[in-house]
Symmetry: C2
Subunit: 254 residues, 2 copies
Amino acid sequence: MKILLTNDDGINAPGLAALAKAVAKIGEVTIVAPATEMSAVGHAITLSDPLRVANFTKNDHFFGYAVNGTPADCVKIAYWALLKNKPKPDLLISGINLGSNTGINTIYSGTVSAATEGAIIGLPSFAISLATFTDPNFAAAAEFAVKLAEIVCRKPLPAGVFLNVNVPNVPKDEINGVRITRQGRARYIEEFQPRKDPHQRKYYWLTGEKVKVETDPDVDDRAILENYIAITPIHYDLTCYSVIESLRGWQIEI
Amino acid sequence: MKILLTNDDGINAPGLAALAKAVAKIGEVTIVAPATEMSAVGHAITLSDPLRVANFTKNDHFFGYAVNGTPADCVKIAYWALLKNKPKPDLLISGINLGSNTGINTIYSGTVSAATEGAIIGLPSFAISLATFTDPNFAAAAEFAVKLAEIVCRKPLPAGVFLNVNVPNVPKDEINGVRITRQGRARYIEEFQPRKDPHQRKYYWLTGEKVKVETDPDVDDRAILENYIAITPIHYDLTCYSVIESLRGWQIEI
């Protein structure tokens, strides 16, 4: 099995190293990841600047390709350029991200956007994130990634669909199981903290707080809170089909 | 009516000027837009850097606020900081973008992401794009934006839903009408053109070509080709509900 790995925390992130080590047991791994951290880049791609690819060495061994671009760029350049004349990957995994990618944050996530790009290309794909920013223990998530990799290659998802996986940051024996979930809808109250720089010019830092955590057990965030692994099937067709007929009834004319 | 405008081509883009001029007839306009071009930034937000806001003057008059961030940043900072103690906008319009935002490109679009952010906040919102990169004539699109603004404020969409509008680049009398459409699914064949810089270092430019144009008249791109204005209702819940039950049947365990 040929496995393509990427992430949005950058090629030197510990979560990617943990993932690479784990999945090396079941396949041949190629790593193509951003040279620097690319969190919250959404589904950005680089059109106005050229992309460069550098060999990235870790512990004196070739580890992967570092790209001066976004996670989506990495998947594109891996598939269409770096692996162009080589056997195509059987699977794309993006992660293991430091921090959950659940609820509304799914749309800002570079980790998820890389898996989206995999699904666009037609590769079985999943994104995997660890629900913490402090004291990460990637062991359970890495082990689960191996298990899921084998399942996803055996049982194909419909075209254009991939999995967004979020793992609670607890030892494996404290994980209660796996839930198939939906993207939560909890809103954020955003705050921009105004500050002055040493030259007395104003600037803002974005912070935000979730309005409420949803209680439905099928919501991704709720599953994590209850120490379940949350798996949400995701697609990139943003059309809201349920309102098409009523919109037609509006009879909008030019 | 209080109208918030933004875009992804940058605050000095002609499409934004045309939109601002047109909608000034029906409301009080506030412009908060990226200081520089931010195309294909997807739904990126700026977390690692501070945001700055500058007054932007055009023809010796205050035109709007220029933000060193993405379109999504602009909507957030407008709503949560710049307009914090003022009456909230009744409507958000993002555009008029130079170039269509249809099919798979919808997910890369900064223009669309700004309208997504409006929908998240709970504002009636639409994105509007002109389907050309050359010889743009914004007149018909700007006139239609005014009409749609009045409709969208009168007939609310369900929570979390907004409209992605694409207008063919022809004079108004050549537009055949308005179609309520869905996001096209045509794939791209991507190509990375390798080049050498003057220092003999390799770099790549991303280019791409659509595999086929879909023939279903309800597809956004097809509507444009047939000189219709395409309106696709969009939401930001990426969950693929149709596969949830079958995924549960997989009985994935840790």
